[in-house]
Each structure stands twice: as structure tokens, then as C-alpha cells.
């Protein structure tokens, strides 16, 4: 299975998880996702997800001026975003456990 399809389903959760540790701007989030192992994630998908999560009230944003280059737009979690991360994280945990059990029973080792 193409990992890109899997990432689409959990990209919201992944972005929220990355921003839980520290606020970040668009490409910074991409870089942190990749360094965490999600190599297949697309830049544009992350930017679009950031914008959608912001519209949904899960993220807040602020502009950090820069003397050297263009201003950077940073994103951070709102209380709504933290609650979403918590609840979706639990859902993912149950789902992942269920899938692992199913695959173990089928004799597949992850």
C-alpha cells in the first residue's frame, strides 16, 4: 500500500502532534514531519492542512518579522487543537492496536 494514502488519513493528527512540542511555520512543520519519518508527506499537503486546521480553530497563527528575509507565519495549538490531538490520538491508538492484532493473527509482522 502506498504510504501517501495512509498519511492523508492521519496528517491532521501528525501536524497537531508536531506543533504540540513547539510552534512552527509551514516548512518547519514539513521538515519536522520528515525527520520524524514521514518522508512521503507533500509540502503542499502540509500547508493546506495547516490552513484548514487554522480555519477549524485548532490552530492559532502569528507573524514573526524577520530582518533578513520575508516574515514568517507561525502556527501553534489552540485549546481546541490540543483537545483534538488528545481525542484523535486516542482513536488512532485504538485503531493501530486493532490493526496490529489483526495482522499478528494473520501472521504478518510489522
Amino acid at each position: 500500500m502506498d504510504a501517501t494514502q495512509l498519511i492523508k488519513g492521519v496528517l491532521d493528527l501528525a501536524v497537531l502532534a508536531v506543533l504540540q512540542a513547539e510552534d512552527g511555520y509551514g516548512y518547519d512543520v514539513v521538515r519536522r514531519l520528515r525527520s520524524a519519518g514521514l518522508d512521503e508527506v507533500g509540502d503542499a499537503s502540509v500547508y493546506g492542512t495547516l490552513r484548514r486546521l487554522f480555519s477549524a480553530g485548532a490552530l492559532t497563527s502569528y507573524v514573526v518579522p524577520s530582518d533578513e528575509g520575508p516574515h514568517r507565519k507561525y502556527y501553534g495549538l489552540t485549546p481546541t487543537g490540543r483537545a483534538t490531538l488528545h481525542s484523535q490520538g486516542k482513536t488512532w491508538g485504538v485503531f493501530a492496536h486493532t490493526m496490529s492484532t489483526l495482522l499478528e493473527q494473520a501472521g504478518v509482522r510489522s
Binding site: Y25, G48, R51, S55, G69, P70
Partner: protein, 334 residues
């Protein structure tokens, strides 16, 4: 990270992406692409030899759009670039709406003010309904109208606040509220034709004042005909009520106006030569069937209150001597 060189390739790439997203509202477009050049430049710094970075602006724009949850190009969103007055109006509206949404997001007190507006809108629509739809349905109807309007206003605000399909409904609600507000300002609250203050015949205290005259099953009684036990009509009869008042069919206010001369009312009207019509629709006969099995013994004290004391035993014979002082005694003979 030090300086970020503005790659010409990056600039043209971003321009292409923006062109692909030209159908979006200015706010959406800015939101999606404002930091794009810096992000791409940094991306190129990380992997300068990656040819895929700036290869496909169309695919990049589509990915941005899909991830942001925006409709694909050519979707239901009207395109601002198509020209025309409506497109310009739509674009201006979207710009205003975007500014409004941003304002609300950044100023939390505005949210409370907007809640107040929902309630006010509901009340105003309630007034509008009271003036139109529920005009004849009384206080309960008006109250129901207010409740319905309030609930509808709240629902409208809560249900998909960004749904474009509800724009017409929203506009209609605002128009109705505006109409009601204008009516309120123009006429003042007290002169509003609300049913509870609609002028009526009833006094303000709400007590029931009966119509003058005598009524039977809702129809006015114009005349009374009295027949004796022998079946013959009694002309010139006087009829009294339980408290000794003489019955008159003339309206109360007639005799109450001024000081009426004391009068004797004899029934049926018209037999004493006055121009009162004897009857309408029914020809009163001079005689009806006599009540043969019943004998009525009138009391010698006719002025005493009438209190008939029928015998408990139907087979008993009349015994006038048993209670001569009784006002009346009636007994049936088998």
C-alpha cells in the same frame, strides 16, 4: 538559517500556483500562499538538486486546495475572474466576509455581540411574524411566533455558519428583521397592531359583560308565548324571574337610558295593540294540546316565591288540605 535568496524560479512557480488558485477568495488565496515563497526557498536550500520541487505548479496548487478542504477548480465556488457585476459583487462580498471572520476570530467580545444580534434578530422577526402571520392567532400565537423566530435565528446562526447555501435564508431573515425594526421605529411599540393591544369591545379589565336582552342558544328571544294547562294561549301574561324581577325582552340599555317610566310587560308582545311584531317565522296557535294528566293547583299566595314540591309518590292523590300554606304542590295522577 541566514538570508533567503528570492529564487526567480520560486517567484514564477508561486505566480503559477496563485493563478491556479485565482478562483478562491482573496483571503483564502493569501492564507494559502502568503508564506509560500519563503517556504519554497528554504526547501530549495535543503535540497537544491531536487528537480521535483518546482516542477508542477498545477499539481502543487491542486494538492494545496485538497488538503485545505477547498473545492477543486471549476467547483461550485463562483470565479471572481469571470467578470461581470455579479462576479465583482460576489468577490467583494467574500472579501468582506473574510475580513469579518478574521475580526471575529481575533476579537472574542465580538462573538458575544454576535450572539446578542442573533437574539435581537429573532425578536425582530417575532415582531414581523406577529404583524403578519400570527396577526389573528391571539397571544399564544404571538408567543409561539416569538419562540419559533428565536429558535430559528439561533439555529440559522449555529447550523453551518459558513454554509453558502443559507445565504438567501440569512438575507431574508435580515430583511424581515430590518422591516420589523423599521415598523417599530416608525410606529412606536405601543401602536403596533399586536393582537393583545388590538382594540376590542371587551373592557380592559377582561370581565365578561353579557349582551343586553334574552338569548336562547345564542339567538335573541324576541317574544314569549305562555300556554295554560288547558292548552289555551294566555295573552297578557306577566313572567317573573327567580328574584321577582319582571321579564322584559327589551334590551337593558334601552330602559337604562334616562329614567324609564315603570312599565308592565305583558306577553306575548304585540297583543296589547303595540306595533311589536307578534312573531317571526312561527305562527303561534291560540291553543296547544292540553296537559290532561296533570292538574296544577295554584297557590293562594301567588306573590310568594315559587317552590314546587312534587310528591314523591306518583300514585298519591292531591291533598290540598295537607299543606295549604305551601306555595305550590303538584302531583301526577296515573
Amino acid at each position: 538559517m541566514t538570508t533567503i535568496p528570492m529564487h526567480t524560479g520560486v517567484q514564477s512557480f508561486v505566480a503559477s500556483v496563485r493563478a491556479e488558485l485565482a478562483d478562491l477568495s482573496p483571503e483564502d488565496l493569501d492564507e494559502l500562499t502568503s508564506g509560500l515563497e519563503a517556504d519554497l526557498a528554504e526547501r530549495l536550500e535543503d535540497s537544491p538538486s531536487d528537480p521535483s520541487v518546482l516542477a508542477d505548479p498545477v499539481g502543487y496548487a491542486a494538492e494545496l486546495r485538497a488538503a485545505a478542504g477547498l473545492p477543486p477548480r471549476g467547483g461550485p465556488v463562483p470565479r471572481a475572474a469571470s467578470g461581470g457585476v455579479f462576479a465583482a459583487l460576489g468577490s467583494a462580498w467574500r472579501a468582506l466576509w473574510g475580513r469579518y471572520v478574521t475580526l471575529v476570530r481575533t476579537h472574542s467580545w465580538l462573538r458575544d455581540a454576535i450572539h446578542g444580534w442573533w437574539v435581537l434578530r429573532g425578536l425582530l422577526i417575532g415582531v414581523f411574524l406577529a404583524q403578519t402571520v400570527f396577526f389573528h392567532s391571539g397571544r399564544l400565537g404571538v408567543l409561539a411566533g416569538f419562540v419559533v423566530a428565536l429558535a430559528a435565528s439561533w439555529w440559522l446562526a449555529r447550523r453551518a455558519p459558513r454554509a453558502r447555501g443559507l445565504v438567501i435564508v440569512r438575507l431574508g431573515a435580515a430583511l424581515a428583521a430590518g422591516f420589523a425594526a423599521l415598523a417599530l421605529v416608525a410606529s412606536g411599540w405601543m401602536s403596533l397592531p399586536l393582537p393583545e393591544i388590538w382594540p376590542s369591545n371587551e373592557p380592559s379589565s377582561g370581565t365578561y359583560v353579557p349582551e343586553p336582552g334574552m338569548y336562547l342558544d345564542g339567538a335573541q328571544v324576541n317574544n314569549l308565548f305562555v300556554y295554560g294547562p288547558d292548552g289555551r294561549r294566555i295573552d297578557g301574561a306577566r313572567i317573573y324571574t327567580h328574584d321577582g324581577a319582571q321579564i322584559s325582552l327589551e334590551p337593558v340599555w334601552w330602559s337604562a337610558a334616562g329614567s324609564p317610566p315603570p312599565r308592565v310587560y305583558v306577553f306575548p308582545y304585540g297583543v296589547d295593540g303595540s306595533d311589536w311584531e307578534l312573531t317571526e317565522g312561527w305562527a303561534p296557535p291560540l291553543t296547544v294540546d292540553p296537559i290532561t294528566p296533570l292538574s296544577v293547583s295554584p297557590s293562594p299566595e301567588a306573590s310568594a316565591p315559587v317552590s314546587p314540591t312534587p310528591s314523591a309518590d306518583p300514585t298519591a292523590s292531591p291533598t290540598p288540605s295537607a299543606s295549604p300554606s305551601a306555595s305550590a304542590s303538584a302531583s301526577a295522577r296515573p
